[in-house]
Each structure stands twice: as C-alpha cells, then as structure tokens.
Amino acid sequence: MDKRWRRLLAAFLASMLLLGACGGRDDDNDNGDAAPPADDTPTDTADDDDDGNDDEPPGDPEPGPGFDGETIRLGVLTPTSGVVAIIGEPLTAGNQAYFDYVNEELGGIAGQYRVELVIEDTAYDPSTATQRYAAVRDDVVAFVQILGTPVVNALLADLIDDDLVGGPATLDSAWVRQPNLMAIGGPYQTQAFNAIDWWYSQDENEGTVLCTLASDDEYGDTGVEGVEFAADNLGIDIAVQAEFPAPSPTRAAQTFESQISQLQGGGCEVIFFVATASDTGQVATALSENTGYNPTVIGQSPSWLGPFAGIPYLQENFYLASEGAEYGDESVPGMAELVRIKDTYAPDQAPDLYFNFGYLQAMAMTQILEQAVANGDLSREGIIQAMADVDELTFDGLSGDYGYGPAEDRVPPLVSSIFRPNPDVPMGLEAVERDWEAPFAGDYVYE
C-alpha cells in the first residue's frame, strides 16, 4: 500500500516536472502550426499581394538546406531559459506572430512558401549558443533572431564561414557593415548619443553632471561609446563611468551599493544606464534607499520591462532611449496593424517592447526573403545577395527605415525616441520625444 502510494506520487511529480521542462522551450516551436487562422480569406490576400512580380515571374527557387520547396525554415537562437529569457520569449513571440500572419493571411513568402521557426535555447551564453547553432545550421536558410551582443560576436565567424544570414536582436553599431547580419533599428550607440543630446537640449538640464553605469561586457561598451561620442560633440565631460558584472549564471547577487557610491561621489546628476532588464529593479531599489541622492537615469532600450512602470523611483527619475512610437499610437501607419496581428496571433502576449522588435525582425526578414524569391534563389548565398539587392527595409513608421544594399552602403536610422514610465499606458511607456536626431548623428562612423 505504502509503496503503491509512493509510486503514484513519484509518477505524478515526474509528470509535473516533465510538463514544466517542456513548457520552458519547445512550446514556442509548436505555436507556428497551432496558430489560429485569420478571419479573412487568406488565399485571396495571397493572390492580391503578388505586387512587383507581375511583369517578370521569377523561376522557382531550388530546394536546399532549410527549404524543401514548400516551407522555409528560419532559426531563432535566443534564451528561453535563464535571466535573459524575459527578453528572448517576447522577441520570439514577435517573430512568430508576424510569420503566422504571413502564413495565414498572405499565403506565405511571395504568397507560396510558408515559414517555420526552429527555436533553440542559448541561455544567453556564447558557448551554449555555439552548440545550438551547430545543431541546427543545416536545417535553416537563415536565422531571423540571434539575441545578445556576446552571442552574435561568438557566432559571427561561423555565420560567415557557412554563408548564413543572422538577424541580431541587439543594436550594436558593429553589425551595420557585416554582410551576413540583418541589422535593423538605430544602433545602441545612436540611442545613447541621441538621448544625451536630447537631455542637454532642455534648458533646465544645462550644466548637469553626466555619468554612465554600464554592464562590464561588449553590450555595456556600446552605450558607453555612444555617450562618449555625444560628450565629445557637446563639449562636456563624463564625470564617472561605473561598471557592474554582466548577467551570467555564475554572477553573484548585486547590491549596486559600490557603484552608487562612485556615482554619488562624482556628483552625477544624469546617468546613462546600459543594462538588461534583469538589473533595472535592483538599481531602482538601491537608489530609492539612498536618501538624498536622486539622479535622473536614462536607460538604453533593453533595460526596460513593463512591470517597472509601477516603481515609484523610476516614475519620477527615469527615461528610456528607444525608437518608434508609443504602443497603440495609430497616427503611426504600422501600429494599427501590429496591434491587430498581436491580438490575432499572440492574444496572451502583453504589449511589450521586445515583442515589437521581434515583429520588426520578421518584417525585415520577410522583405529579404521576398527579394530572394524574386531572384529565384533561396540558397544561403541567394539570401545574402537578396540583402544586397534590397534598397531599403521599411517598417511603416514602427522603426526608422534602414538604407540597405551592399553592407558598405547601409545607412541605419539616425533617430531615437525618448519615453518615460507611465503605468496607465500599454507597455508602461509614454513617449516624451519622437524621432529625435542629434545634429551630429550623421558624423558617427559605423565600422
């Protein structure tokens, strides 16, 4: 009797654990096929949307790795476990929702080729990402999403060797000149120098002491580079450049006490904050418990999550440098469509900055794949060629249009938007300034 009960309990616990283990990752992969069909009739839309190709019908692309003649398989290398899963999951949901829309309402890429995502968990760890990349590289035509500056850096040589395209879900300016990377959005450096220029353009902020607080890794360096560029152009000094360990499985708990001691000691009044969202709450806590020291913090876009809008210190003292418009602002042409597609294909997804970015990546990849189909070549080399053949990637106002073509000619968007927390609006972000461009933005050299 006793043994039977124990066995039953053990079986129950094991099945619960298994369910939990499955819920962490592979569910996402299933969503593509399980997505509900749209109310509209997809076949009609697919026929009508063949614009641009009527005069010169392309030859059918040959099947190859990741393309069986009917379905295009795209890789996603993102953390679905670990500290940065809070970014990876909504990003991937954005990828998936847009491709669900393409599959169901447009009949697939060029109206005929369905898209399927192959999602692999990197845990935001370069060595894990390298293993997962090797496991799936022969099954995909390209990677629509690779999350993390250190991860992209770790994989770049392999992407080049394998003639594969990857879409970095990170905005380092170093990606602009890489033929194998499908960069979109204004680089982090652009966010940083535009935000600092915007701050000092306000009369009341003149003479405020500028500092940085950045994670001690390549990602942290991007924002600091942008701030340094702005400081040079504006003729101001950066009083303190504080750093903290980047998130990793071996990182100890962070108090941010010593960094705040540095910043307070340097008299910092405005701090540009380069971090992922996993550290923002802790920094806000440390500052709110530091009586008498209330600097303004301007965060780089990955430092934000919706729940932060409820944090009193951030409501009073925080701005976010990002781009595009406030969620639901239908004065922006692409916003109404984004909201509709999210509500249709990802109804459980809360409005989210990273969902939007994933959606934009899928938009960009769709334009490139359409070009590759028009060229009659969905091979790896064909997709790289298609990136060089596309003149411009457009986003209906959700992000700045990106001048494409050969890598050496690419021109990223030069504008950024400034937001501040507001718990009463979707995503918890209210736009303070739209499409701000520093007068020296065009001088930044993307290497």
Binding site: G23, V83, E89, T250, L305
Partner: protein
C-alpha cells in the same frame, strides 16, 4: 601602510562604512543559504545543490501567498517557509531516499538535476518576467551616523541571527539534532541505538527547504526583483559553506559574511585598482578567498576534520 594610503584616500570613510554594512547584509543572505547546505550535509553527508531550487521556490511562493492570494505579508513568509519544509520532505521521500547508499557523486548529480528541473517548473508556472513582491520594507531606511541601513537588510540580518541561534540550540539540545549528528557520524551505530535514519534525513531536507525559503524571500525583496535566476544565487553562497566548514552552522554564517564583504569591497575598489585583473574581479574574488583559506585550513574555518570531501 604607504601602499594603502592612496586606496583609503580615494573612498570616503562614509562610503567605506556604507559598503561594509551592505557587505554584511549581503553576507547574511548568503549565510542563510549556506545554513541550508550545512543542515543536509551534517545529517546526510550530501552536498545539496537543490538548495538553490528551494531558494527559488521560496521567493515565488511568498509572492504567491502575498500578491496572488493576498494573505498578510508576514503570514505569507511563514506559509512559504512551511511550503519549503514540505517540498524538502517530499523530495527526500520521493527521490533522495531511493539513493541512500549510492555513491556521493550520484546523489550530488541528482540534486543538480533537481535544481535545473525546478527552475523550469517555476518558469512554466510564473513566467520568465520579473515579478514585484511589493514587500513593505522596500524604500524604507534608518540612518545612523550618516550610514544608511535599509529595512530589507536589517530584516535579513535578523533572520540570519535567529536561524543561527535556532540551529545551534537544535543541534545541541534537541534529540533530533543529536540524532542528526549521530547519524552523520556513523549511520549503522546510530541505527543500533534506535535512531531512525529515515526520519533524520527527512527532517534535515525539510529544514533545508524551510531556511532556503527564508533566504529566497530576502533576495526577492526590492523592486521587481523576483526572477527565475534567483536559484543560481545559491551557487554564489557555495564558497561560504566551504570556507566556513561544511558541517558547521557557525562556519556557514561566518563564511557567508566573509564572502559578502569580500564581494562588496572588491567591487568598491575594483574600478580603480583592479583593472589589471580583467572584467568583473568581484565575481572571482570570493573563490580566491575560499582557495586561500582552504590552503591554510583544509576543512574550513570551523569544519570537522573527519568530514568527507567530494
């Protein structure tokens, strides 16, 4: 003395003391985790890496009781601790007890497996995004002589002191505490004296779950601080247990405080004086201190020389 002068001059006395206090508080939190390691090791001779899972579940269950089910905050803490105790007992009964007599390496690998499985279970239940505990302590500080102490930190230190006192009393005066010591020293002899090893193991795992849940709470306080990686913080407390002595509650607390202070002080001075050490020396420093102490005292500061190592 001369070499220290520029270091001391670069940071004000208040900053130094402020970071000292912060290091003490952080060390207290590590100590709570280390105490969970110690109680299982002391009774069973197993290093329980699943302790991180107890920390994680403790944080989320406090959130569940307090925010989702809107139970009084302090009662929520007690309920989360009770849940931690139950989780420890259930895991011991369903998994660990079947491994009694197996090689220590096997048992350790199972506890590591439990840590990662529970991490996924937590993500599946509560999601990956940060959650805000909304505790009543965040944002409140007391100031003494220009040095701030947050209510969160004061509670963490009080919890650690209380748990340490309870542990010392438990092992010294209670029959179960004595039974744990006897079972760990010689299970067969203990059995011959009528001590139930099964009950000892179960209670040890339960206590570990209870204390770890409290540790999870201390890391969960603050703004939107609950996230699935809280369990990995237990690994940062591991050097505390090792350098304090793997079977010593006092050693765990002293070790935790040493690790907290070393981490905080390295961080304070690293930006200026440790650039040559590469990125993030504060992450490595606790392990360096651990190695140095073990070179001098191989069984840790307060460890018993007979302790078996893996």
């Amino acid at each position: 003395m001369n070499a220290l002068a520029p270091v001391l001059a670069s940071v004000s006395g208040t900053d130094f003391i402020q970071n000292l206090v912060s290091g003490l508080a952080l060390g207290s939190k590590y100590a709570l985790i280390a105490l969970g390691f110690v109680v299982v090791f002391r009774a069973t001779g197993v290093i329980n890496f699943a302790n991180g899972a107890f920390v994680l579940v403790g944080a989320y269950m406090t959130y569940q009781f307090f925010q989702t089910w809107e139970i009084n905050f302090y009662l929520s803490i007690l309920l989360a601790m009770a849940f931690g105790f139950l989780l420890g007992v259930v895991l011991e009964a369903l998994v660990l007890r079947r491994l009694v007599g197996e090689a220590p390496f096997t048992v350790i690998m199972v506890t590591i497996g439990l840590l990662f499985v529970m991490d996924n279970v937590v993500t599946a239940v509560w999601g990956a995004t940060n959650l805000d505990l909304g505790d009543p302590w965040t944002g409140n500080v007391v100031e003494v002589g220009g040095v701030r102490m947050s209510h969160r930190d004061l509670w963490a230190m009080a919890f650690t002191a209380t748990v340490l006192a309870a542990f010392l009393a438990f092992f010294r005066f209670s029959s179960m505490g004595l039974a744990m010591r006897a079972t760990a020293a010689d299970p067969e002899a203990a059995l011959a004296q009528g001590i139930s090893a099964r009950a000892v193991y179960r209670v040890a795992w339960g206590i570990a779950g209870l204390v770890a849940a409290l540790a999870g709470l201390t890391f969960a306080t603050g703004n939107a601080n609950i996230q699935p990686t809280l369990g990995l913080i237990a690994l940062a407390a591991f050097p505390a247990m090792i350098l304090g002595g793997m079977d010593s509650p006092l050693g765990a607390v002293i070790g935790g405080i040493i690790i907290g202070l070393v981490q905080q002080m390295t961080e304070l001075y690293a930006f200026e004086y440790l650039e040559w050490a590469g990125r993030n020396p504060q992450t490595v420093a606790p392990y360096v201190v651990m190695i140095i102490i073990l070179l001098v005292r191989p069984y840790g500061l307060f460890g018993t020389p007979e302790v078996r190592r893996v």
